[in-house]
Point group: C2
Chain length 198, copies 2
């Protein structure tokens, strides 16, 4: 009966239910898009009532924001830390490595964030800084006042690395291999030499 | 009254209504996602009844397939033509230039196709060859039996060029500038030297 007891405990602890709810919501958002996922679908997948979902979140948009929050917070921290690095080459390497690492650790979320108009809109409402953050990343990658070619390079880098990191067809690839390959591609795009990783 | 007469003529020609319907559907799919767009929304945006939409298409999935059809047909033709090019370097250049050109001419559609789970599913149903087509493109870009690094490079190339070509923030960029910049980035990723375009 140990497993059953653990189940009940998990269901009665609001924080754990919240975590399960966000994990389930991310999976459903990935499968159906944010707009194609209802609060009822999330409740059904969790085996709880819609009222139990309402206890944690009043709207689907609140759920979308909460799903994206940890990744967005880490991305904002990466941009802030990146701005402090003085030497330009080291700065590019720092932000590229941080971005790739973030993409790999949040594979599903990054894919959803890069692709779903529903979550993109939720994020615009929830995080007024998300446009600034993208601008910040582009600046860190290709410098202040980049020309068109620089903007396009940064764009291909951000979207290409994110979408590839979250690609369902590459889901079987282990994190370490994915991380190394994405870094290699990123360095090539930014004209950085490959570094030996120990 | 000339404009009014033209309006009425357009509304009474089924082929023109079909074209308007597909243009409107693409716009709504881009704004709300395929799952977030209803037949009623398409009818309202066109200023016609839902019955008028049903005259052309029985389901939203049929509309999604019809929206994507011209781009998919061109992409299939590009892969077929690419396979006929014998010299490897010329083959890569041919397919890269064709892909970039296709992305630029179908900017909205490519962005939607790369990002929306709804249209991706509709395409899987409508075009059983779409997985083969992606495999075909990857093979043309990085050769038969590519290693992980090659697959990741091709993936970043396909998703990065497509998403950047369709990026709303770059919508003001003219086609020619976008085409030249995407080509430059693609060549860098594939290790092809820049060519002078006359």
């Amino acid at each position: 009966m140990a497993a059953g007891t653990a189940e009940i405990r998990e269901d009665t602890a609001p924080e754990k239910t919240r975590t399960r709810l966000l994990t389930t919501a991310l999976r459903l958002f990935t499968e159906h898009g944010v707009e194609g996922t209802s609060l009822q679908m999330i409740a059904d997948a969790l085996g709880v009532t819609k009222a139990a979902v309402y206890y944690h979140f009043k709207t689907k948009d609140e759920i979308a924001e909460a799903v994206a929050e940890p990744g967005m917070r880490e991305l904002a921290a990466l941009v802030q830390e990146g701005l402090k690095v003085r030497r330009r080459g080291a700065q590019i390497d720092f932000v590229l490595e941080g971005f790739v690492d973030l993409v790999v650790r949040h594979r599903s979320l990054v894919a959803l964030f890069s692709s779903d108009p529903g979550i993109a809109r939720a994020l615009e409402r929830g995080f007024h800084t998300s446009v600034d953050m993208k601008e910040g990343l582009i600046t860190l990658f290709v410098g202040e006042d980049p020309d068109v070619s620089g903007v396009i390079t940064a764009h291909v880098l951000l979207t290409g690395l994110a979408l590839t990191g979250g690609a369902p067809t590459l889901a079987d690839l282990d994190d370490e291999t994915l991380r190394a390959s994405l870094l290699e591609v990123g360095r090539k795009l930014l004209g950085r030499r490959a570094r030996r990783i120990c």
